[in-house]
Amino acid sequence: MSGPRVNSFFLGNSSGVNFSIILSSVDEETGKLQLANCSGSKRAGDWNLNVTPGMNTSKVTISLTRNLQLCLPNATDCCTTPLCVVEILQVLACRDSVILAHLLIQAEIYANSSFTGNVSENATIIPNQVFHPLGSCPCDLTGGACDVRCCCDLECTPDLKQLFNESCFTGVFGGDVNPPFDQLCSSQSMEYIPDWFPFLCVQSSLNNTPFLGYFYHGSTSIPRVPPFKIPLQTSPGRLFTGYRQGDPIMTEENEYFTIPQQSTAGQCVGNAPVAYLQNFDVKCLTNLASYKEGLPRDVRINSGTGDFIQQNVIYRTITDMGKFITESESLHTAEVLCQNVTFAEDYAFIWKDKNIEQINVTVFLGILCDGEILAQRFTVKFQSLKSTNVTVLFGNPGYQVGKPVKAANMNASDTFGSLNIWQPAGRGLCTLATSTPVLFGLDSFSGCILEVGIDEDCSLLRGNVTEKLNSLIQATHVGKRDNSSYSDLNDWVEIIRLDPFNSDTNVSSGNLKGICPDIPANLNIRIIFADVGAVQGIPQQQILAVQISYSTVIWQFQCGLLCENSTSFLPITASVQFIKVPAQPPIPMTRFQINYTEFDCNRNDVCWPQLFYPLTRFYTGEPYSQCLAKGLLLAFLVLLAAIMSNPWFSKLWNSSLV
């Protein structure tokens, strides 16, 4: 029974029975209890007796009627100590002075521990987390009272602790926040004991453990806001020595001369610089909303010698607008916003040696209306003063990146050949596609889309695809160098062709319609080149071999819900891959590096960085602390010897002891 009330039952007929309660005491010496007699009443001290009679059983209730609040000493009507009531009661059931039943109650009642006192103003000092755990006794959960089984609880009196002494909580929860660590002399559990352990083991008590102190002392750094600034355009600075191939052309204000070009990602970039002696021909799509004028026509260009030349501009109007404009939306014939824009620009740079002599620009103007898509065309050609159409590189017979690969057809009469890849146009259909020559050094991948009906015969399809791909390769030989002459067969390498395996019979397609295996739809052109020598410091590259092979795909008719489409699409691709052989040899070691091996720890048994080990940490054979200790001891002994051998010191020594 807990709390100040206890119930019990008296079995039997309770008519004529007197119930009484008596406070008893224990004899100090013998410890015997005095048995009471029937002369009690229903009240004894603070205790009350209530009987509820029943048929065969009666309920007997004994209750305590005093205040169990904890309060200050010398106060009345409350508990002065936590252990408030320690009393022995006897309940007697008597009939005619004959004891029928006897109930012994020993009561130990503690005060209610609800908090009604003052709040202390002192703040709890939180110890430094690094060296003292915040909860030195984690099982001390209730304040002001003793937690059972918590042996580190300070509120437990020793006689209480004795009750649960054998079953204390163990480990950190029970208050053992300083477990023995390995460096203690008394610890037995280490596999690896260092040599110096008998001398440098820790003998002191566990109150100061070193391991509570291992906190990370990270330094804080202020995050640097990345400066989202567009860097100022820096000028190359060597303008006045002339242009070399690939140098950007500069204007009078030392800025790049820009013409919209196609970036490597594929889209048009508005302000891309123009490289010297690099022709290009790009088409950029734009509409009225995003149309931007280029550089103004009166911008003067640095000619390379330091003076500036004017562009010679000729304006023309476009007659055939259909080549440039595609309409995207249906136009209302009513008021539409139209503007005069440039449809195409043709630049012809006349150059000589390292300078630009003249710039001739032809600008084609036209009217662009809202809702139309314009394909602007920009072409740049560098023309030498000597020849007007062919651009020749001075002093560079090898292939340059970006130049078309020379190909020849030795079987044909005019020996002129071409090696092309697809240049798609419009929707990308093969019927509309043109071809563009393979450019040296630029790996490319292009293709077009062939429309195939569901009833297509597979062998016919194969033949069709093969013929289309073969139309790209109109050559049997490829030139080793850019200036290979058509008359010398040694200047050419034969194209190695791996033709697709053509089976004449419909092997596996059988009667299946809409699926064709082994369609050679991918053309792979692999060109192997290498560096052979150098001319004027520029490495020359030659083509060593060319291989053409086909990869096959399985074509399957793509159905909609009900196979209503009449045609399906088969993409035909051509890819060019340039492979450089041999790999770059390692940079040859200088004679100094070969002969002078003292700093090379790999080829020497001893090398200087490892010799000065405690000062330089290259050697890993010995623990750093050991070596440091030995070194310091050695230094100390040397210092001692030096000091003691000084006659001044012995004079001082003698005088101090006299």
């Binding site: 003292h132 001398f199 820790v202 002191s204 100061n208 002891l657």
Partner: protein, 135 residues
């Protein structure tokens, strides 16, 4: 003792040995404190008292030995008595390094035990010498 020489030879020998041993003790304890501060982590403000007390001990040792030696050789009891008083302070400091230091290594125990033994022997001999000088 001889009647015209009251100075105690064993005491003088002990002073000499104590001087040399103390230098070794000071350097060894300093090195060990440095080692402990690197390998273990000292709680706040525990390293400063350890180091300060070591240096105070070193500073006390010099006059202690000097006075003791001077008193012994000139057969005066005043310096010797003063040296004995300083020895008491040195003994307390040695006990601190033996027991109350933050981390006590076994080498610390050995060194301090030897030092305490030396101090004890010295104190006994000093008392005997003072008794000889006074009488």
């Amino acid at each position: 003792n001889n009647s015209y020489q009251l100075s105690s030879v064993p005491l003088q020998i002990l002073f000499y040995v104590n001087g040399i041993y103390y230098i070794f003790y000071f350097l060894a304890t300093l090195a060990m404190i440095v080692y402990k501060s690197e390998v273990f982590s000292y709680p706040d403000d525990f390293l400063a008292p350890d180091l300060a007390l070591l240096f105070i001990m070193a500073i006390l040792e010099v006059p202690r030995l000097h006075l003791g030696s001077k008193g012994n050789l000139t057969e005066e009891e005043a310096p010797l008595g003063l040296s004995l008083v300083i020895t008491v302070g040195s003994v307390i400091l040695s006990v601190y390094f033996l027991v109350w230091q933050t981390y006590v290594l076994k080498a610390d125990i050995i060194l301090n035990a030897l030092l305490l033994f030396t101090y004890g022997l010295e104190s006994v001999l000093k008392v005997v010498a003072i008794a000889a000088f006074v009488s």
